[in-house]
Symmetry: C2
Subunit: 97 residues, 2 copies
């Protein structure tokens, strides 16, 4: 599934309530899912981990819909290499640890 396809799927599924709720309140629900993801990773909860990743992704996409951002367009910054060093295999000195 293309990133754009998924964004449009989520838009059709949730956008009416998302836009009514607005960005700040949508961010709260996104943050809740981020917490659940942290928990699943910390507890090594293999059964639920994938589902928590999916939920965070879906809420990120829903937030992008509310904010009018095309996620597929946005990630083009990575297409030609790391935005930091320009390499397809990153050689940046930052965030090594």
């Amino acid at each position: 599934m293309h990133i754009g396809e998924f964004q449009r799927l989520i838009d059709r599924m949730y956008s009416e309530r998302d836009r009514r709720r607005g960005a700040a309140k949508t961010f709260l629900w996104f943050a809740e899912e981020v917490g659940e993801l942290a928990s699943a990773i910390a507890k090594k909860d293999e059964a639920n981990k994938a589902t928590e990743f999916a939920d965070v992704f879906a809420w990120l996409v829903t937030l992008a819909n509310v904010e009018g951002v095309d996620l597929e367009e946005a990630v083009k910054k990575f297409s030609e290499g790391c935005p930091g060093c320009g390499e397809m295999v990153c050689r940046c000195e930052e965030k090594m640890t």
Copy 2:
């Protein structure tokens, strides 16, 4: 770009350092980007908003690589309708506000 393609692109670009760093430390960098996204939304920083969405997405994908989760597979839970109510246009009573 397919979700899987993006995940593989990020894997090639960052996975050596990601796996050396491990999940918990990778989550810290992901959380930093989530904070930058919150800031861009709160400040209505239109110039940087798309880039912050892209960064959060990239770090989510990098975390999925470290944790061995296929994100494209994981979001199939949404393909046939909202996981909560089963509808393509969600009718859940939860998270309305």
